[in-house]
């Protein structure tokens, strides 16, 4: 892909540092818009040429590979919370030779949208007390907080922990340091009021992977790049003609937008 090499030179860390500045109130909407696409500034022209190469369902609005994501948050208000979340998702599902990572796939926006809805507000969960969030390791979710609050409190604790342990903002740390922080959360070594840090990490991890591979209509898996990497073809009427095939069938993915075909 044209421009790929240049993109890697401009590291995620540099990029997130820059958006950290943005969060400080210096830059305006244009910079924020360039955030998850990570191709702003000097890489802009290269980014544009990469986009033409991958094409995809741009007309359907599924996001264009390599392009800055023209998207907005509807749940996570603070830019700095979102930047830290984005950085954490990229560590969980990083860009590599196989293809894009969580940020380019739109995963932070996927998570933001999930948290805004029924799932984020635990709308189908049993929500009556008494709550005993810390009393059992084996009773699933017992937190008083809903998932949206768990995300916000978890991200903010992660940011606080970065300053405590590394004396710098989470987004400014290098990948290995960010991993160490995530590992501490995963190992349940960090104290957070009302939940176990492992519970937050498990939520963060599973939601990130969902954002990579869920249908692009949810806001992640941009341009079906997640499905392309894992060679998943998406929803179809059926596989009657291929079900007994000996060879692996490599099939260009189609999403729910194509499968439903509108229908208003």
């Amino acid at each position: 892909m044209a421009g790929e090499k240049d993109e890697k030179v401009f590291s995620r860390r540099d990029f997130l540092k820059t958006t950290g500045v943005a969060a400080g109130g210096i830059a305006g909407g244009a910079l924020l818009g360039g955030f998850t696409g990570f191709k702003f500034g000097e890489d802009q022209s290269e980014g544009d040429s990469a986009e033409t190469d991958t094409g995809g369902e741009t007309a359907g609005g599924e996001g264009e590979s390599g392009q800055a994501l023209a998207d907005a948050r509807t749940y996570i208000s603070r830019q700095e919370d979102f930047a830290a979340l984005a950085a954490a998702t990229e560590r969980i599902y990083p860009e590599d030779d196989n293809g894009p990572g969580a940020i380019e796939l739109g995963v932070p926006y996927f998570i933001d949208r999930q948290l805004y809805g029924t799932w984020g507000t635990n709308g189908t969960d049993y929500r009556m007390g008494p709550y005993r969030p810390m009393s059992s390791d084996t009773h699933g979710r017992q937190e008083k907080m809903d998932r949206g609050e768990m995300f916000l409190m978890g991200i903010r604790r992660m940011m606080e922990y970065a300053v405590e342990e590394y004396d710098d903002e989470f987004v400014n740390l290098d990948g290995e340091q960010q991993d160490e922080i995530l590992q501490a959360f995963e190992a349940d070594e960090v104290e957070i009021d009302g939940m176990k840090s492992a519970a937050f990490f498990s939520l963060l991890r599973s939601t990130t992977i969902e954002g990579v591979y869920a249908d692009p209509t949810y806001g992640g898996n941009r341009n079906m790049e997640g499905w392309k990497m894992i060679q998943y073809p998406g929803p179809r009427m059926g596989w009657m003609d291929q079900i007994t095939a000996e060879e692996f069938q490599e099939i260009e993915p189609e999403s729910l937008r194509a499968y439903q075909g509108g229908g208003m």
Binding site: Y93, D125, Y126, G140, L256, Y259
Partner: protein, 584 residues
């Protein structure tokens, strides 16, 4: 105050396989029947165009919301139970069609041995074989007696299968031939045959061809689209009540279906020991109704059947201290301890595992029931070893990576992409027993949205679970090695039940049997204590069999429908109780 409605012959609570079958049969017999379903009036078009892994597999779209009502769970009798709060931790069926709308379709009959497991175990191995903690019970019905009901259900459902070489010879062919054989299934069959085992294609509630059932309902050949388990079928190609018994019942004017009808009590006259009807809330308006009936049929999920009896104060609640009482006794289920086996990772194979059907699979039954000698084994019963090709979505396939790979980060990404379609999982569908310490009752703390107590499950592993689990894992490892996997990993067995009610196989609590001291219902699922109350469904299993439960639930519902019809004529207890036997 509740509005009292006109009396009908039969009121049926719940509209899954059990309620659907009973409704269809009694409607056909000309009885006036009202079916009450707590959930929505689901239709086929609810499942068209919505093939969406996140929505159905991860957000559990068609499972029962736990918002207003769940269960609480604990391991020990002296422990404080906590509520199961999310659908990730418990998936109950909801809406018209019940759990069978989202079932996968694996269709096994239980074995002759399993229906008479107590007497046959004693006969072969002596009474000492049965551990002290186990309430091992005969079902009060034999395989021979069950066979015509199995046949009835299999024809209604249009099951696609072939003769299992180790099962009793079938009097009736499967209604449809088996599903297609895929390369991964062939690998399993070749390897197990090589080991001297007896592989066969799993009988499936997914149509191998177009089919018309005896009621005239038409089902279509399965397209192998993979959106089966946890999803509804968009094509009438899965054996479910929406494609079969519900439309059959609705064809009769003497049947009426009311949805969003949440039954909260069985109305019970203690002096006469008769159920007089049910009280329900219309969940759309909040209005309360009383529906009087000559016969009340509880055909809801096992948890609901148990809880309705408890809330209505019908029958004697089981008490683990005295070990007396039958309601809530012998709560069992096939989850957590079952479905462990081995995963194989293959360097040079890649299968089309994103294609499939719920019950597309192969199995061996060499280690099922008492098909193998248990003399030197420290457990009772068995199960099938299965390989299934459900058809996996992308989120699910991203979980295929060897256990020494981290679960996130660069190495995770690399390995999960590599093995997404190069990993196979086989497992043992082991039997699940009942024990004196596992039971259901009402929780003292947590309430539902109306202020009624939640059902409380007390459940821990008994003496059978770990030994049978370890045995199954060993056998699966052996088979997976024979299949040529480059990396073979044994599934870790849990030390204790972890309160994850996955899979939907929770049963018992209102169990059937021949003896009213150890069972709540007779072999027609008619209550011993209340002649005009039938409690139908998985709640009747005295212990779980070594296979998926649905065909047995379907067959028992046909038996119960016959019982209700007989009761409406004879108006008495249909079975003579035997009180001498089997008090474990």
């Amino acid at each position: 105050m509740a509005t009292e409605l006109d009396k009908v012959d039969v009121v049926v609570v719940g509209m899954g396989w059990s309620g659907g079958i009973v409704s269809a049969e009694l409607a056909k017999a000309g009885k006036s029947v009202v079916g009450l379903e707590k959930g929505h009036n689901a239709k086929r078009s609810d499942y068209i165009g919505v093939k969406d892994e996140l929505r159905f597999d991860n957000r559990f779209e068609i499972m029962q919301s736990l918002k207003g009502d769940t269960i609480t769970s604990r391991n020990e009798i002296d422990e404080t139970a906590l509520p199961i709060r999310t659908m990730k931790d418990m998936q109950l069926g909801a809406d018209v069609g019940g759990a069978s709308v989202h079932w996968a379709g694996a269709s096994y009959r239980y074995w002759p041995y399993e229906f008479e497991i107590r007497s046959q175990t004693i006969e072969r191995y002596g009474e000492d074989k049965i551990p002290d903690d186990m309430n091992l019970q005969d079902w009060g019905i034999t395989y021979e007696e069950m066979e015509p009901y199995y046949e009835k259900w299999e024809k209604t459902a249009g099951i696609s299968g072939e003769q299992d070489p180790l099962a009793p010879e079938r009097k009736m062919e499967w209604p449809n031939p088996p599903l297609n054989e895929t390369p991964s299934l062939k690998l399993f069959k070749d390897a197990t045959a090589e080991l001297g085992l007896h592989p066969f294609q799993i009988a499936a509630g997914n149509m191998s061809q177009n089919y018309e059932n005896p009621d005239g309902e038409k089902l279509n050949a399965c397209m192998y689209c993979s959106f089966c388990t946890r999803a509804g079928c968009d094509f009438d190609a899965k054996s479910d009540p929406l494609a079969t018994v519900v439309p059959t019942a609705l064809r009769h004017d003497n049947f009426e279906l009311r949805t969003r009808a949440n039954v909260r009590r069985v109305l019970y006259n203690e002096d006469d020991q008769r159920a007089t009807g049910v009280m329900y809330v219309d969940e759309q308006t909040g209005e309360e109704f009383e529906q009087p009936a000559d016969v009340v049929v509880l055909a809801a999920f096992a948890f609901t059947n148990n809880r309705l009896l408890m809330l209505s104060d019908i029958g004697e609640q089981y008490d683990p201290e005295t070990r007396e009482g039958v309601i809530g006794r012998n709560f069992n289920g096939q989850y957590n301890s079952a479905f462990h086996g081995a995963i194989g990772y293959f360097e040079n194979e890649k299968w089309n595992l994103y294609m499939g059907a719920g019950a597309l699979g192969a199995a061996v039954n060499d280690y099922a029931a008492d098909n193998f000698d248990h003399t030197d084994l420290d457990f009772i019963g068995g199960g099938a070893i299965e390989l299934r090709q459900y058809g996996f979505g992308a989120i699910s396939s991203s979980n295929n990576y060897p256990s020494d790979t981290p679960s996130w980060g660069a190495e995770y990404k690399k390995q999960s992409l590599k093995y997404a379609y190069s990993a196979l999982h086989i497992w043992y569908t082991s039997i699940a027993m009942s024990y004196w310490h596992n039971y259901l009752d009402l929780d003292p703390t947590y309430k539902d949205e109306y202020g009624d107590p939640l059902l409380r499950a007390t459940y821990k592993f008994g003496s059978n679970e770990r030994p049978i689990g370890e045995f199954g894992v060993d056998k699966c490892v052996e088979i997976m090695e024979a299949m040529g996997a480059d990396i073979v990993e044994a599934d870790p067995l849990p030390d204790e039940f972890d309160h994850v009610y996955a899979g939907g196989h929770y049963t018992g609590g209102v169990v059937m049997g021949a003896d009213p001291e150890t069972s709540a219902v007779n072999s027609y699922l008619q209550m011993w204590d209340v002649d005009n109350l039938f409690v139908v469904g998985g709640s009747a299993f005295p212990q779980f069999g070594g296979h998926h439960p649905t065909p047995t639930i379907g067959a028992l519902a046909y038996r119960a429908a016959e019982g209700v019809e007989r009761y409406l004529e004879e108006e008495e207890q249909l079975v003579e109780p035997q009180t001498e036997s089997s008090n474990a």
